[in-house]
């Protein structure tokens, strides 16, 4: 058996996989939705249309809960590298540690410095300043995604470094930062964030239209959302294909695992071009026990030629092969969801072309609305499965081809690993179920309790007094008016 699958190492992988998987349920929505909030706020300020303001404030409530959950699960991540993978953190410190440092300084803190202003700053700072603040939240969260993807994609394709004195010392910063995998990996993740946020918007809107509550208001946001999705969903499929080709070139074991591709050549010596639709892989024996195959598709997908050679698992020693089950099926789930979401986007735009994107017409297509509601959950699953393909496909390496996973694991006993795992199962599930419960509460309540935007700035005299006051010695500036708005 490969040592990476022995109990102590497997548990350390599970410990990390669990907290990461639960963390990534929140961050993509923060990243994608902050831009959508920015555009709605911009639309409000440009057009003066109160409906944009209402929609903005409504989705902001979901955003805040989501952000809080992201912070709660994210602080652990910053510490978890050192706790669970200490020797890894030490060895990759000169590059990976630097990048994580960049991330906290230029992105994590940047975001935290503006989020309070965005949420609680309504009416306390000017409209223009508030728009600027929202923009900064969007930019900082996307920057954060970029640095994290720099760090992770470098683990897939560790360019620009040499291993010297037990440390990964950087020889070329540009090669290390713009490493092979990053070039397509970052766009793939960033577009996934936007796609997820758009589908959550569409899903919530469709629910309101189906329930015939604020139906016109939510049709207003559903329209541009569906149009954007018509561009984003095929774009994501194209980018994903490019990532796949890069993986085929740089991480052939990972590709072989996600395609269940064991034999490079057929028994008659010709290249094995068969693509497995489904399979029962047997990693120990190095073959599929059962599979449904389509000839030429694998070569078409990975090399864009009819008979191109795709390196199979048999070209690598057993100790260097990853598990196949998870990458194989997770990959299929991700791709399937990608196409399904594309189909939903087309469906919506066909309705648009027929002029049926109005609240009354849409309610005559309840199955479309139900499909859109359901589509709000699918991007989460696609992001999960995509990352499982990426991380399990890289095994048994933690830094591909250079450092094996077991070499990077901290000094821990199995008992410690179990305590961590059980504790985080409890905490992460409380965060998750709490957040979803309160999402549903916010959605149930609807938009009726959001006050008109005119109420934002009617306390100017008091504000003036407050700005003279400064610190703490003074008049009860906020005693007469609510500190926050009643919708919180």
């Amino acid at each position: 058996m490969v040592i990476e699958n022995s109990l102590p190492v497997l548990l350390s992988r599970l410990d990390f996989a669990w907290i990461t998987s639960m963390h990534i349920l929140w961050t993509p929505m923060t990243i994608g939705m902050s831009w959508l909030l920015f555009f709605m706020e911009l639309a409000w300020l440009k057009s003066g249309d109160e409906r944009w303001y209402k929609l903005n404030r409504f989705f902001e409530k979901i955003f805040i809960i989501n952000f809080g959950a992201g912070v709660a699960t994210g602080v652990t991540m910053e510490m978890a590298f050192g706790i669970l993978y200490g020797p890894f953190s030490q060895a990759v410190g000169p590059f990976f540690g630097n990048i994580l440092g960049f991330e906290t300084i230029t992105a994590f803190m940047y975001e935290a410095g503006f989020i309070g202003l965005m949420v609680f700053g309504w009416g306390k700072i000017s409209k223009g300043m508030h728009l600027f603040v929202t923009f900064n939240v969007g930019l900082s969260s996307s920057l954060s995604a970029m640095w994290i993807l720099v760090a992770n994609s470098w683990m897939q394709t560790p360019d620009g470094v040499v291993l010297k004195d037990g440390l990964f010392q950087v020889t070329n910063w540009w090669h290390a930062i713009l490493n092979d995998n990053f070039v397509w990996g970052f766009p793939h993740m960033w577009v996934a964030c936007v796609e997820l946020a758009l589908f959550v918007f569409a899903s919530v809107s469709a629910w309101f239209i189906l329930k015939n509550r604020h139906a016109d208001l939510f049709t207003k946001i559903l329209k541009p959302t569906l149009l954007a999705l018509l561009i984003v969903t095929p774009l994501q499929i194209f980018i994903g294909d490019s990532v796949g080709q890069d993986v085929a070139k740089t991480q052939p074991t990972s590709l072989a695992a996600m395609e269940g591709h064991f034999h490079t050549y057929l028994p008659d010596g010709k290249p094995n071009t068969n693509w497995n639709l489904i399979a029962i892989p047997d990693v120990e024996a190095g073959k599929n026990l059962f599979s449904i195959q389509i000839p030429h598709v694998l070569s078409l997908l990975e090399t864009h030629t009819w008979n191109g050679v795709v390196t199979g698992m048999d070209q690598f020693p057993v100790k260097d092969r990853p598990d196949v089950w998870v990458p194989f099926y997770a990959f299929r789930a991700m791709v399937g969801i990608g196409f399904l979401l594309f189909f939903v986007a087309i469906w919506g735009n066909v309705l648009r072309m027929r002029g049926q994107l109005t609240a009354t017409e849409l309610r005559k297509h309840p199955w479309f609305l139900r499909a859109v509601i359901f589509s709000g959950f699918l991007p989460y699953l696609a992001i999960w499965t995509g990352w499982w393909v990426r991380e399990i496909g890289r095994q048994p390496w933690v830094v591909f081809g250079m450092m094996r996973t077991y070499e990077g694991v901290s000094n821990m006993s199995v008992a410690q690993e179990v305590v961590w795992f059980v504790g985080y199962i409890i905490f992460e599930l409380v965060v998750w179920s709490g957040a979803w419960y309160f999402f549903s509460r916010v959605i149930q309540k609807g938009v009726n309790d959001i006050p008109h935007s005119d109420t934002l700035f009617h306390g100017h005299d008091e504000d003036h007094e407050a700005s003279q006051a400064g610190g703490g010695h003074v008049a009860p500036t906020f005693a007469h008016k609510p500190m926050m708005h009643s919708d919180r």
Binding site: G68, V71, G86, Y110, N411, Q416, A435, H473, M484, R488
Partner: protein, 362 residues
């Protein structure tokens, strides 16, 4: 030859520079979030959810920014001193995990308490208990780090056979519970007392005189002022007794600097207490934070040239020269920027509350 010595000099200058920034980041965390955490400890003794809600609302606009200084400190440690990051966090796995669970409870309580109807009490307690466990276990971690830890090279992981993997890098080599000593438990208690005092001063400055919360926070602060003075003395004597590196410095030829420093600390504490009794609450808070700054700087200076006493020196733990140079070039400029926009955020949300006014809006 000349060039090599120059590079060595530059690297040691840069790593000392980052060692100071690291100290500043930790200081900002304990000074800013300490007050928020302390207010949470205060909320443990609140009689109703209205009061807990008011206390949460009083920090709603900036608690996230304050807490994030801890993440930044972690990022700076990883970016500049990964050898410490990868071994000390391994050593401190259990206390850090428990502190993180406290932070998680607190962070979600902020978002959920507002929306909750029947579960308000649950989230109120999650907030208060999280605010207690986070500083306690952070204090335990600090005390444990001061004691240092054993290291070895090779495979770190327990329970797997050595596969002939070699590396000159030193990993943590002790057990899971090595962190737990009378001293580290004491530093945990000390951290709770310090946070409790900061929280009391913060609540006094944040709520209007005469308000119920202000009244209770006043007597709370009086009690915690004396507890904190006692804790400072106990910690100093205890450290003197068990840490030869600290004793040698404090009684060395520069003993008079330390003595003057201690007098200044006492002066700041005295000013904080007198301002507090005159209800100059914001000024009292600032003098109190001054005590934190002075003590933290003294601790950092006592440890020099070590990051982890007896275990990692600044020099032995720092990244290779080019990584330090890149980190310095691209990141130093952001430090004042970060401080500026955080200050702006706190400034926007300045002012005083009453229990009713914030709660009614919440």
């Amino acid at each position: 030859m000349e060039l090599t010595t120059d590079i060595v000099r530059i690297v040691s200058a840069l790593s000392t520079w980052w060692w100071m920034i690291l100290g500043l980041m930790f200081l900002l965390y304990i000074a800013l979030d300490g007050a928020d955490l302390g207010a949470g400890i205060f909320a443990l003794f609140s009689k109703d959810e209205e009061e807990r809600g008011a206390i949460m609302a009083s920090m709603a606009g900036f608690w996230d920014g304050n807490e994030t200084w801890l993440v930044v400190a972690g990022g700076v440690l990883f970016g500049a001193f990964p050898l410490v990051y990868g071994s000390a966090f391994n050593y401190l796995m259990i206390p850090l995990m428990l502190a993180l669970w406290g932070i998680i409870s607190r962070a979600i309580a902020f978002e959920f308490h507002i929306h909750a109807r029947s579960s308000k009490k649950l989230w109120g307690w999650a907030f208060a208990l999280g605010s207690l466990t986070a500083p306690f276990f952070a204090g335990v971690s600090l005390g444990a780090a001061l004691q240092g830890f054993p290291m070895k090279s090779g495979i770190a992981m327990q329970g797997i056979a050595d596969r002939g993997f070699t590396t000159p890098v030193m990993h943590y080599a002790g057990g899971a519970m090595d962190f737990l000593t009378p001293f580290s438990i004491w530093t945990g208690v000390g951290a709770v007392i310090a946070a409790g005092l900061a929280g009391g001063l913060f609540l006094c400055a944040r709520f209007l005189p005469g308000d119920v919360i202000h009244e209770r926070a006043k007597s709370w602060t009086n009690l915690f002022s004396f507890l904190a003075l006692g804790a400072i003395v106990v910690t100093l004597v205890w450290s003197y007794a068990i840490f030869p590196w600290a004793a040698a410095k404090w009684t060395g030829p520069n003993w008079w600097i330390w003595a003057i420093w201690f007098v200044i600390v006492l002066f700041f504490a005295f000013k904080s207490m007198t301002n507090h009794s005159m209800q100059h609450d914001f000024t009292a808070l600032l003098w109190g934070e001054g005590v934190v700054v002075l003590l933290w700087a003294a601790m950092w200076a006592t440890m020099f040239p070590y990051i982890v006493p007896g275990t990692w020196t600044i020099h032995s733990a720092s990244n290779p020269a080019n990584s330090m140079a890149v980190f310095t070039l691209f990141m130093t400029g952001f430090v004042p920027v970060m401080i500026m926009y955080n200050w702006y955020q706190i400034w926007v949300f300045r002012g005083r509350f009453t229990k009713k006014s914030v709660y009614g809006a919440h």
